[in-house]
Structure formats: structure tokens, C-alpha cells
């Protein structure tokens, strides 16, 4: 069990990433695949946030002493990545609605059979 105690947030984030990938590979429901892809993205973002982040790190705001600061670069970058991720997921959901109305299914493999030739 020592192995589990040694796991850090970054390792878990990689785990979440591949869990999301597994979901995208195995789920036939479109909604669930969109969620899986979102989970992948969040896993990658969490991993990035944990870079140069010592256990006692504090947010990089002006009053924090520099020695205790978390690296501000990942924090700044990940805000952008989160916004992009949200907008793409929103777009996927909007498209899914269209597709579901048009073909009346939420299943990738049934959807393929119903596409126009």
C-alpha cells in the first residue's frame, strides 16, 4: 500500500486523463463520450497546474513571499486552457443537440447507419 501513499496529484491527473481516454474509446453514447473528452482535458489541465507546485505552495498573489509562491506561469496558462475547453465542450453539446434531433439517436454506431448516403 506504500505505492498508493506515494501518489501525488500529478500522477492522479495522468490517471484521470487516461480514464477519460478509455471512456472515449468504450462508450457508445455520444453524451458520455463528450463527457469523457472533457474529463481528459481536465486531467491534462490538473497535471499542468501541479507543475512546480510544492506541497506548501500558496497562490502567486503580490503579498505572498516569493519563496512560497506556486509557479505563476502554469496558473496563467491554464486559465486560457480552461476557457478554451469550456467553449469547445459547449460547441460539441450544441452540435450533439442538432444531430440528436435530426437522427433521433444518441449512439455513435446507430448514428453512422442512419447517415445519408
Amino acid at each position: 500500500m506504500a505505492f498508493i501513499a506515494q501518489l501525488q496529484t500529478a500522477d492522479l491527473a495522468v490517471g484521470i486523463f487516461f480514464l477519460g481516454l478509455y471512456g472515449a474509446m468504450s462508450q457508445r453514447n455520444i453524451m458520455k463520450t463528450i463527457m469523457s473528452v472533457g474529463i481528459m482535458d481536465l486531467g491534462a489541465i490538473t497535471f499542468f497546474m501541479m507543475v512546480n507546485h510544492p506541497p506548501d505552495a500558496r497562490p502567486p498573489i503580490s503579498s505572498t513571499p516569493v519563496a512560497h509562491m506556486a509557479d505563476p506561469v502554469p496558473q496563467a496558462l491554464m486559465i486560457t486552457a480552461i476557457v478554451i475547453g469550456v467553449s469547445i465542450i459547449a460547441m460539441c453539446l450544441a452540435m450533439y443537440m442538432r444531430v440528436a434531433y435530426r437522427y433521433g439517436t444518441a449512439d455513435w454506431s446507430i448514428l453512422i447507419r442512419r447517415l445519408e448516403k
Partner: protein, 537 residues
């Protein structure tokens, strides 16, 4: 000595003009954007001149020290591509002067796509590239389902989700790189990576980032989004032309850039060379099976990108520059073919090659343009494709390489023999053609460029990239005979084989890969690349 031109002007001019002019009426907006594009071409031209006859330009966006600031880089790889993008967009704006599908939202998104593409080419920062690719992805997803007919929403959704998974891989890879080296700047990474001491440490981020770039560049087996996006029935032809002509090259360009960054620790050139060859073969095999003229062209883009990637990774200098030259050539002839295909579909009201006849007589200018494009892409002597293919061929060693190249040439010619059927015969269009001088003018101009790129192949490469190679061999008697021979075999194969296996072609055509299968392929590709780099380092 004048002040250097700020590189970010190239990105900001189209974007700001697109946003600021949005309140104008549609015609005036179109004129404004056309004017802006001319300005962008002028700026790009002057930057290209500075880079080509001066040195590479590196600019930091704010006053931060090296490797922390976001950098913009214009060098011999990026400057020609920026110029190409600017010219290409100017051409498409001119081409669509009288098109009726344009509205203001479309124009705005289109010009935004232009600036995001130029920014990808110029960017020297990995995270910046990530953001710009995502921006381009969103815009493209909207553009390919713009008319919302048939299955276009499905196509766009598949495109968006597949690329989003690819980009998640890239984000994780960038995270690993940042954790190991503490920089995101490509030049900085190139210096820091060898200092890690352990080459195997760089394998995981390399495989993650390369997987996402392989999705972008549509390498085998990750290309299934490309024909759907590029040949989408609902996308206007100028969108298809831009996607196939320039946007897919962004993936190839990133492949070069990132390989170069990792070159000191990881060299996967044989892997990508083989992959390029497989992509090329699979691309034309699928192209032969298609009926829809836009899909024939789209699958052909897959094939040609494979050829480019193969040339770039052959490890020979001539082949590398041949591949770079083929990027430009492919943009010219494939852009031309997509633009003319859009006009042909509009005129004939059909997308099937079997129902279109007599384009040369019905629409002479468009027909001649198409013919020039076909001659260019098949590598006919005196056209630009022959030069770049000749250079790539020089990098091949042994009989095996020769046979492979012959196979690719034969496949290309075969699928375009099928395509050129539409040019001949008696016209069967429902109504007399509409006259649009700009369409004719741009078709002929692009066609002329294909011819000029072939007649002055060696000098063009020297002019654009610098290295001096003689292309005289490409116009030799041996090459011409071999082209005629290939053409004869292709025509024979078309008449004797392709026309008789309609059932098989139908099966190939209607086989579809579902999203789950695509994701499995992507994961397999990642694992394969990881394994290969582990084995080779």
C-alpha cells in the same frame, strides 16, 4: 535602415479589420477585407524579403527576457508559408467576389481563420501554438457546417471531437515538457532538452505532442476526419480550398518544427517516412473508390500530405527541400482544383463524376484551370508537381524506393484519370454558364502558377528557400517517357479494372469508422510511437 516590421501586424491586421468593419454593409465589408488582404500580402512579401536575403527575424511580444516572453519567429520555414497563406486568402477573396453564400458572419470567421493560421506559422511558443490551433479548430468546425445541409453537422462534430482529443494529448505533453525543462519556447526547449542527461525522459512528451500533430497533419491512421471536413457538402468551395491548400500544411509545418526541437534527443525520421508512404498509398486507394468529385480531391489531399511527410523525413537534403516545395505546389494545384470543383458543382447541380461531362467546352476557363491542376498534381512534365516529385525521388535509395514512388505516381494518375472524365464529352449542364470574370481570372492565374512552377522549378526553389538544385532531370526524355508510360498504364487500369469493380468500390466507399474506433486508432498510434521511440533511443 528602416525600422523592422513588427511580425504581429500580420496577425492583427486581418483580425482587427474583420472586427472593426463588421458594421459595414456586406459588399463594402467584402471590399474592405479584400483590401486588407492585399495589405497583408504586401507586409508578408516584405518580411519574406528580409528573411530570405537577410536573417531570421525573432521578436518578443513584450519586454520579457528570453524564453519567458512569447516569441514570434519568421525564418526560412515560416516566412514562405506566411506569404503563401496571405496570397491564397487574397486569391479566394477575389474568387468569391460575386458568390451568393457569403454573409458577414462567414466573412468574419474566414478572415479570423486567416490570422490564426498566420499566427501558427509565426509562433515560436508551444502553448501559443496550442491556443491558436484550438481557435482555428473552432472556426473550421463552424465553417464546414455553414450551410447545415445533409450530414454536415455530424462531420463537424466528428472533426471537432477528434481534434479535441488530439489537443488534450498535446496539452498533457506540453505540461510534461514544462515540468522537465521549465520553458515553453521552442528555441529554449531545443537547448534545454539535451541537458536533461536522459534522452528517454523526453519520450513521453514527444509521443504525446506528435500524436496530436499527426492528427492535425492527417497521417495514417488518423486521417478519417480530413475528407469529411475538406469535402463536406455544406462547406463553400473557398473553405475547402483553404483547408486543403493551407490549413493541413500547418500540421506538416508543426511536424517539422517539433521534430527539429527534439532532434538532439529523439529522431523518429524512419517512422514518419514509412508512415508518410503508407498514408500516401491508402489515400489514393480511397480516392479511387470515391464518386463525389470533392471527396476524390479530399482523399487526394491525404495522399499528397503523405508524400510530403515522406519527402521531409527521407534524410536527404534534396528530398527535404523537395517536400517543402511540394507544400507550396500542393497548395496551388489543390486550391485550384477545389475552387473549380465548387464552380463545377454549382453549374451542373451534381457532385458525382459520372454525371458531369464537358466542362472544357461549357466553362472554358474553369476547365483549363482544372486541367492545369490535374497535370500539376499528376506530375506531368513542365508542371510544378513534376519538379517537387523529382526532388523527393532523388532522396530515395534502391529499387524499393523507386517502386514505392512509382506506385504513388501510378495511384495519383489513376485517380485523376477518373477525375478528368468530367472535362471531356458533350456538356450536359442544365443552363448556360454564368459569366464571372474573377472566377475565370483566378482559375487561369493559379493554372499559370502551376505551369510557371514547373518551367522554372529549380530557380523557384532557389528563390524561395535558397538551395540551388538543378531540376533539368525532371524535364529529361526519360522522365517524359516514364510519365507517358504511367499515364498509359493508368488509363488501361481505369478502363479494365476500376470500371469493373464497382461493387468493391461501393463497399470501400460506404465503410465508415465510428468515433470509438477513431479513438482506439489514436491510442494505438500513441502507443506505437511511444514504443518506437523507446526502442530507437
Amino acid at each position: 535602415m528602416t525600422l523592422p516590421i513588427p511580425l504581429h501586424l500580420l496577425v492583427l491586421i486581418p483580425m482587427i479589420a474583420g472586427a472593426a468593419g463588421y458594421f459595414l454593409p456586406q459588399r463594402a465589408y467584402h471590399r474592405l477585407l479584400l483590401l486588407v488582404n492585399v495589405a497583408v500580402v504586401a507586409v508578408a512579401l516584405s518580411i519574406f524579403r528580409d528573411v530570405r536575403w537577410g536573417s531570421a527575424i525573432v521578436q518578443r511580444v513584450a519586454d520579457w527576457p528570453d524564453w519567458i516572453a512569447i516569441t514570434l519567429v519568421a525564418d526560412l520555414y515560416s516566412a514562405p508559408l506566411v506569404l503563401l497563406t496571405a496570397l491564397f486568402f487574397a486569391g479566394t477573396f477575389l474568387f468569391s467576389t460575386r458568390a451568393d453564400y457569403l454573409d458577414k458572419t462567414f466573412l468574419f470567421l474566414f478572415v479570423l481563420l486567416e490570422s490564426s493560421l498566420i499566427a501558427i506559422f509565426l509562433s515560436g511558443d508551444l502553448f501559443n501554438i496550442y491556443v491558436l490551433i484550438e481557435l482555428g479548430m473552432l472556426i473550421i468546425a463552424i465553417l464546414i457546417m455553414y450551410k447545415q445541409d445533409k450530414q454536415s453537422v455530424y462531420d463537424a462534430m466528428l472533426y471537432l471531437m477528434m481534434n479535441f482529443i488530439g489537443m488534450a494529448f498535446m496539452l498533457l505533453g506540453i505540461g510534461y515538457l514544462y515540468r522537465m525543462t521549465g520553458v515553453l519556447d521552442l528555441a529554449g526547449l531545443q537547448q534545454r532538452l539535451p541537458q536533461l542527461g536522459n534522452a528517454r525522459a523526453a519520450i513521453v512528451p514527444y509521443a504525446l505532442i506528435m500524436t496530436s500533430i499527426a492528427v492535425k497533419a492527417a497521417l495514417f491512421p488518423l486521417f478519417s476526419w480530413l475528407p469529411r471536413a475538406h469535402g463536406a457538402p455544406s462547406a463553400p468551395s473557398i473553405v475547402s480550398a483553404v483547408l486543403s491548400g493551407v490549413q493541413v500544411k500547418a500540421g506538416v509545418y508543426l511536424l517539422i518544427r517539433v521534430s527539429q526541437t527534439f532532434s538532439a534527443v529523439i529522431d523518429a525520421a524512419p517512422f514518419f517516412m514509412l508512415l508518410g508512404f503508407v498514408t500516401s498509398v491508402v489515400g489514393f486507394l480511397l480516392a479511387i473508390a470515391q464518386k463525389d468529385i470533392k471527396l476524390i480531391l479530399a482523399y487526394h489531399t491525404v495522399s499528397q500530405v503523405g508524400l510530403i511527410v515522406m519527402g521531409l523525413h527521407l534524410g536527404s537534403e534534396v528530398a527535404f527541400w523537395g517536400g517543402m516545395y511540394h507544400i507550396i505546389n500542393h497548395a496551388l494545384f489543390k486550391g485550384l482544383l477545389f475552387l473549380t470543383a465548387g464552380i463545377i458543382i454549382e453549374e451542373y447541380g451534381s457532385r458525382s463524376y459520372a454525371e458531369i461531362r464537358g466542362v472544357l467546352r461549357h466553362l472554358p476557363a474553369v476547365g483549363i484551370g482544372t486541367l492545369a491542376g490535374v497535370l500539376g498534381i499528376t506530375g506531368a512534365p513542365f508542371f510544378n508537381g513534376s519538379i517537387s516529385k523529382y526532388f523527393i525521388q532523388q532522396g530515395l535509395q534502391g529499387d524499393l524506393g523507386g517502386i514505392g514512388m512509382f506506385l504513388i505516381n501510378l495511384g495519383t494518375t489513376l485517380s485523376f484519370v477518373k477525375y478528368s472524365v468530367i472535362l471531356f464529352g458533350t456538356p450536359n449542364a442544365p443552363q448556360p454558364p454564368q459569366r464571372d470574370p474573377w472566377v475565370a481570372c483566378i482559375s487561369l492565374l493559379f493554372g499559370l502558377a502551376c505551369l510557371a512552377g514547373g518551367l522554372f522549378g529549380g530557380p523557384t526553389v532557389a528563390l524561395v528557400y535558397g538551395p540551388q538544385y538543378s531540376a533539368a532531370g525532371a524535364l529529361g526524355l526519360e522522365k517524359i517517357t516514364s510519365f507517358v508510360l504511367t499515364l498509359a498504364i493508368a488509363v488501361g487500369a481505369y478502363l479494365l479494372v476500376v470500371k469493373r469493380i464497382g461493387g468493391l468500390l461501393l463497399t470501400v466507399r460506404s465503410a465508415k469508422v465510428s468515433f470509438n474506433q477513431i479513438t482506439v486508432l489514436l491510442t494505438l498510434f500513441f502507443v506505437g510511437l511511444l514504443g518506437y521511440t523507446w526502442w530507437s533511443v
